[in-house]
């Protein structure tokens, strides 16, 4: 038990703590920005950032607790999958909002890779993803989850390309930093999911979740440029 405590429980608790601190502070920053901004497109992006942060904190904490208490019925693969799919869809919505921001930031509001037309398809993909993903549990259709992921990843890649291309148009350095950290977040998140299926300690998986939430914090930090108030001011 004592070696289990040192090898699994303590690192898991530390990593959950780190993950939650980064995620929840990012939520706080996002809500501050949401409250301070006026234009709906930018506000919406900040709000979805906050929502993603809340879901990330819940899911990562749950994953961590499932590692500590694997025998609990709540730690079943099904429950974890159901929870895990929520932020997946929110990431797509956030990509949608960020792509809209890319167009708004361009002084001529030019389209990027037909985004203005295809964003409706993108929205439909988000809805379909949830329907297909959860239909496994509602209608017992195990194959539907595969279809959901087959829809999800092309949409994710297309959205990421739109944002990356759009970033070359704007000269907003803060937005570029925001997008750069979004890219790191996706990379860390995907790496964490790949590691989940490898025969190594699940605690390593949590390291990637902590990294993901750090990237998320940096994304929130670069939602808007911010000055610093000195004591004299």
């Amino acid at each position: 038990m004592s070696s289990d405590l040192v090898v699994t429980v303590l690192p898991t608790l530390v990593l959950i703590g780190l993950t939650d601190v980064f995620s929840l502070y990012a939520v706080y920053l996002s809500i501050s920005v949401w409250r301070g901004l006026v234009v709906p497109v930018y506000r919406s992006r900040a709000l979805w950032m906050a929502l993603l942060g809340v879901f990330a904190a819940i899911v990562f904490t749950y994953e961590g607790l499932a590692i500590i208490v694997p025998s609990s019925p709540l730690a079943s693969v099904e429950v974890r999958e159901i929870l895990f799919a929520i932020p997946l869809g929110v990431i797509l919505v956030l990509i949608n909002r960020t792509a809209n921001t890319v167009i708004k930031l361009d002084y001529l509001r030019r389209d990027v890779l037909f985004w203005k037309e295809l964003r409706f398809v993108f929205g439909a993909v988000v809805v379909l993803f949830y329907i297909l993903f959860y239909s496994r549990y509602v209608y017992f259709l195990p194959d539907a989850q595969g279809f959901a992921l087959a829809l999800y990843f092309p949409a994710l890649v297309y959205g990421a390309i739109v944002i990356a291309k759009g970033t070359t148009v704007t000269r907003d350095t803060t937005f570029r930093s925001h997008v750069k950290w979004f890219g790191y977040l996706l990379a860390a998140f995907i790496a964490g999911n790949v590691i989940y299926f490898l025969p190594i300690s699940l605690v390593i998986d949590l390291v990637f979740f902590a990294l993901t939430s750090f990237c998320f914090y940096k994304m929130a930090r670069f939602l808007v440029p911010a000055g610093r108030l000195s004591a004299s001011q």
Binding site: L37, V38, P225, A226, L229
Partner: protein, 225 residues
């Protein structure tokens, strides 16, 4: 000194003398989405309400701007400004062609020389992105000189984060008033604050103001740490 109301009573009060000074150029600087455009919209529509001649210059289409204006609860059906816009306006706005832009604004000022005039340029950032900064300084300097010849006020917006600090400083140097809207970190907090960095005819302000812009107006209060 005659004053031109900003369109927000709360902002007029903190400007030092109930509005922007006459025959002046005022610049609003801040990140995208914080509300610079809202200041421009309100300024123009306050002018239209007072029967001033108003000109709105933008690289966007009139339709895009009207959508944004309506989001702030401003009625755009009664009176409209003269549009110098990317598309849909009476005059064509091309950020690459500063000479034509300058000519259009100067002609409009001349034609309406008997009336009080308000000009909004939203935003000056595309001009700085597409032209050498020195050319934009010259364009703006000449335009401000022209504004001072008439009973006019020029209001421009500038995006923070898209230009070099020296370019922002030079632009601020050219104008009579600068309103800065931006987020500030204070410890772990992030707060949106407004600062009147300078305003001709007013005592230089050192304080910060909390602000919130909504459909119902603008709330401004002194910021105390």
């Amino acid at each position: 000194m005659r004053l031109a109301s900003s369109g927000f009573d709360s902002l007029d009060q903190v400007l030092g003398h109930d509005g922007y000074p006459d025959r002046a150029a005022v610049l609003a600087i801040g990140p995208p989405g914080i509300g610079k455009e809202a200041l421009g919209y309100k300024f123009i529509y306050a002018g239209l309400t007072g029967n001033d001649f108003c000109l709105y210059a933008t690289a966007l289409s009139v339709r895009d701007v009207l959508q944004d204006v309506q989001a702030f609860g401003i009625d755009t059906t009664q009176k409209v400004p003269l549009w110098l816009a990317g598309s849909g306006g009476q005059l064509r706005y091309d950020p690459n062609d500063l000479a034509s832009l300058s000519f259009s604004i100067k002609e409009a000022l001349k034609k309406n020389s008997g009336r009080r005039t308000r000009v909004v340029i939203d935003s000056l950032s595309p001009l700085l992105m597409l032209n050498p900064p020195e050319t934009v300084y010259k364009f703006l300097g000449q335009l401000i000189a022209e504004v001072k010849n008439y009973d006019a006020v020029l209001f421009g917006t500038l995006e923070e984060g898209m230009h070099q600090p020296q370019v922002l400083a030079a632009m601020q140097q050219l104008v009579d008033g600068v309103i800065e809207l931006r987020f500030y970190e204070e410890g772990l907090r992030l707060v949106p604050l407004m600062r009147i960095k300078k305003m001709r005819g007013a005592i230089p302000e050192t304080g910060y103001y909390r602000f919130a812009i909504s459909r119902s107006g603008m709330e401004v209060s002194a910021y105390v740490k």
